[in-house]
Amino acid sequence: MAQTPPIVAAHGIHKHFGTLHVLKGVDLMVAERELVFVIGPSGSGKSTLLRCLNRLEEPSSGSITVDGIDMLSRSTDINAARQRVGMVFQSFNLYPHMTALGNVALALRKVQGKSRAEAEARARAALDRVHLADRAGHFPGQLSGGQQQRVAIARAIALEPRVMLFDEPTSALDPELVGGVLAAMRELREDGMTMVVVSHEMGFAKAAADRVVFMADGLVVEQGPPAELFGAPRHERTRAFLGQIERH
């Protein structure tokens, strides 16, 4: 993996919200086809880091390249660059006035300029990958939370991104609906998608992640393969966090 250049390379990321210093110099490298899990207590800055990667948040300083594109440069066409970075949100954020198919097809038509027929064919294929082809004509309000999140995954992968960002994709779901979303993510992974996942699904992390990054107080405390980080955490902070999680 070390031979290929990283898909995501973030260096020295700082982020201030007013007087709040949320990220205090974070580095994150993600190799092609790698699944990186980011864990940490709430307020540790993990979601902010993820949102910096596609510039939904503007870092105060640092550098970020995705697939060789300087994401923070003023001369970068950010709308073109964002097509290479798919994002899935905690609250799904599907467009409620459009069908599942319309949700997936919108950017294909309006960003990639495809015809309606071509966009819808591509959207159907993306919905099929999350096993929701039969729900194409449903509105978000007619779908379960798990189905909505899978449509959101389809919306992102339809643009054929180089990396997918997941911001707590199962946190808003009822427990019985989590499995379907994790299954969709696992299939993406098996198809070779590069993924950065912020989540509390430790079971999924242990089973599927290549690397786990533990963040606290705006810094990366430690990182390593899941067996190592979960089995033998080196830092007191990591042990305390994992201890608290296991008690549940």
């Binding site: 964002r82 798919g86 006035h97 919108l106 950017a107």
Partner: protein, 226 residues
């Protein structure tokens, strides 16, 4: 003549009614034309201002807020009279129809801007973020994702406000526009009988009842599919 006869003769005088009905009908069409002009330009201007405000250019927004608050504060009749009697003093003559149109359109613009703006700000931030994360531009996100949701949310207050302001077309009678009320009042002065006013009231019911029903239909039509 009994009291009832006197009442019927005053308000339901058939001879007067027949004589002045054509004038009221002319006024009816004029009111429709005026209302149509006001609704079209007022809502379009209100939406345009709300979109402009969403760009977040601070001095522009201050100006928008000032203009909107001004026209929400001023009574429509004051604006109509000011334009009709005030502008000629500045060497700019303006017809009664134009002054009524402009005044009420400005008022509708002000109120509808606030309503559209409330709708835009009520669309969750996540909708913007989801759309922008797929590479949609600010304008495309506004046009395809945010405005369709914002407009749907504000249809009920918007139809209410539109109907309320459109009824202000009756104010145009003050500046000699022969719309429904103007025509009716003229009829009263010529016939010395208030029956034309009864016709006028009926004309307003005939005109605005369907509008109210239409508003209700739009509200159901735009509700979410669940």
């Amino acid at each position: 003549m009994t009291g009832l006869d006197r009442f019927l003769d005053s308000f339901f005088n058939l001879r007067v009614a027949v004589e002045y009905l054509p004038k009221i009908i002319d006024g009816f069409w004029l009111t429709i034309l005026l209302a149509f002009c006001i609704i079209l330009s007022g809502l379009a201007a209100g939406l345009a201002l709300a979109v402009l405000r969403s760009l977040g250019i601070r001095p522009v927004n201050w100006l928008i807020i000032f203009v909107v608050d001004l026209f929400r504060a001023l009574p429509p009749l004051v604006i109509i009279v000011l334009l009709y009697f005030g502008l000629p003093a500045a060497g700019l003559s303006i017809s009664g129809f134009a002054s009524a149109w402009l005044s009420l359109a400005l008022v509708l613009m002000a109120f509808s801007e606030e309503i559209f703006w409330a709708g835009i700000t009520a669309v969750p931030r996540g909708q913007w973020e989801a759309a922008r994360s797929t590479g949609l531009t600010f304008a495309a996100t506004l046009g395809h994702v945010v405005l369709p949701q914002a407009v749907r949310m504000v249809v009920p207050p918007l139809t209410n406000r539109t109907i309320a302001i459109t009824k202000g077309t009756a104010l145009a009678s003050v500046v000699a526009v022969p719309e429904i009320l103007g025509a009716a009042q003229a009829g009263v002065s010529f016939s010395f009988n208030p029956t034309p006013l009864t016709l006028g009231a009926l004309a307003y019911v005939v005109l605005f009842f369907p509008v109210v029903i239409l508003g209700r239909w739009i509200e159901t039509r735009f509700a979410w599919k669940r």
